[in-house]
Point group: C2
Chain length 211, copies 2
């Protein structure tokens, strides 16, 4: 058998499935639609994946895993001082979202509709998150003790950053409907990024240490 052709068929289906699932979500996606886009008969994706649910889980788990890396990057890279590193985290996370703008809505949406998918997420990235979280909290506490930053829990800080960043992209469809120009849309996003950094910076940096 021709391995390349086989792989490419399965991959074609996965790629098509990813596109359609990401754009429309689980319920609105029809297996025939995926097959059409992949250029195969819909029996093919039952041959490879048996059920619609199976294809979906493959995609979903891939996407969930994508969330892990930017978060792990948060605690490594101890070269920079914490405040500047947090700035970099916002930058990295924001750019990651820019490269995957439909990811947040997709994940949130599916977690809301299928609460058991939250378990999938916890299984996949739970321990890693837990570790990173503890390390970050310890670091924060040190900086607080030194009087450099304001007290804050690592959870609140992470939620602040993620909330602000993610929302910028979740609300993108609204922005797009108001301004159609691509450059202008990008300018708005850049402005948001700047504002988010400013907001987080003011939240953590002690006022006495600011210019």
């Amino acid at each position: 058998m021709d391995k390349k052709k086989t792989q490419s068929k399965k991959e074609l289906i996965l790629k098509a499935a990813e596109e359609v699932f990401m754009a429309n979500g689980y319920e609105a996606t029809k297996t025939t639609q995926i097959a059409e886009r992949a250029g195969v008969t819909h029996a093919m994706l039952h041959y490879y994946f048996q059920t619609k649910e199976n294809i979906f889980r493959k995609i979903y788990e891939d996407k969930i895993n994508m969330l892990k890396d930017p978060i792990v990057a948060l605690v490594e890279n101890k070269e920079m001082e914490l405040p500047q590193r947090i700035d970099t985290i916002i930058e990295t996370h924001f750019e990651f979202l820019k490269a995957n703008p439909t990811l947040p809505h997709f994940v949130i949406s599916e977690m809301n509709n299928n609460p058991h998918l939250i378990e999938t997420m916890k299984e996949n990235i739970g321990e890693v998150m837990g570790e990173s979280y503890k390390k970050l909290q310890n670091e924060i506490d040190e900086y607080v003790a030194q009087g450099i930053i304001n007290p804050i829990t690592a959870l609140d800080l992470l939620l602040d950053i993620v909330s602000l960043n993610v929302s910028a992209f979740v609300m993108l469809p609204i922005i797009k409907s108001v301004v159609s120009d691509k450059d202008e849309q990008n300018a708005i996003l850049e402005q948001r990024k700047k504002e988010i950094k400013e907001t987080i910076n003011r939240r953590i940096i002690k006022t006495e240490n600011k210019a």
Copy 2:
């Protein structure tokens, strides 16, 4: 004909539709499911609303209109000073979301899946928002000129508040899966509210004016 019974049938359908649509979204909701929950044959909701789309729009427009009031409240009530009023806005908006925790995800989700629904939103609350926005920007500018608060666009301020508040509830399903105790969940929400107020306060208040 018995008006009360008629109203109650139609209302039963609308109530059931609201529950199911809010919980599952447009695509995942089946008309038979709505009929079942309302305790009527599914022909009934075609009799009253003709199509699934029609029932949905009724629900959707109602929900969109609910968003308007808390925002309008932002500019009225000139008794308080701006900074304290912003604090109240966060409080009001947060409590509104607490009373309607599934609303944000529902609206965002449907706007993402059906971009034309954004038009519906703009038609319903567009002008009101525009007016409130201008008034707020003028007020901010005054306070900035007096050296009381840091420069910020009204859009950024609103987006910061809405992003942080909404995210707290959009991510609620995750919190619920981690902590099952209701009181504990509430404590987490209260902590988030406090943190959001703190974050926004530090963002806008000039450092010189702070204790």
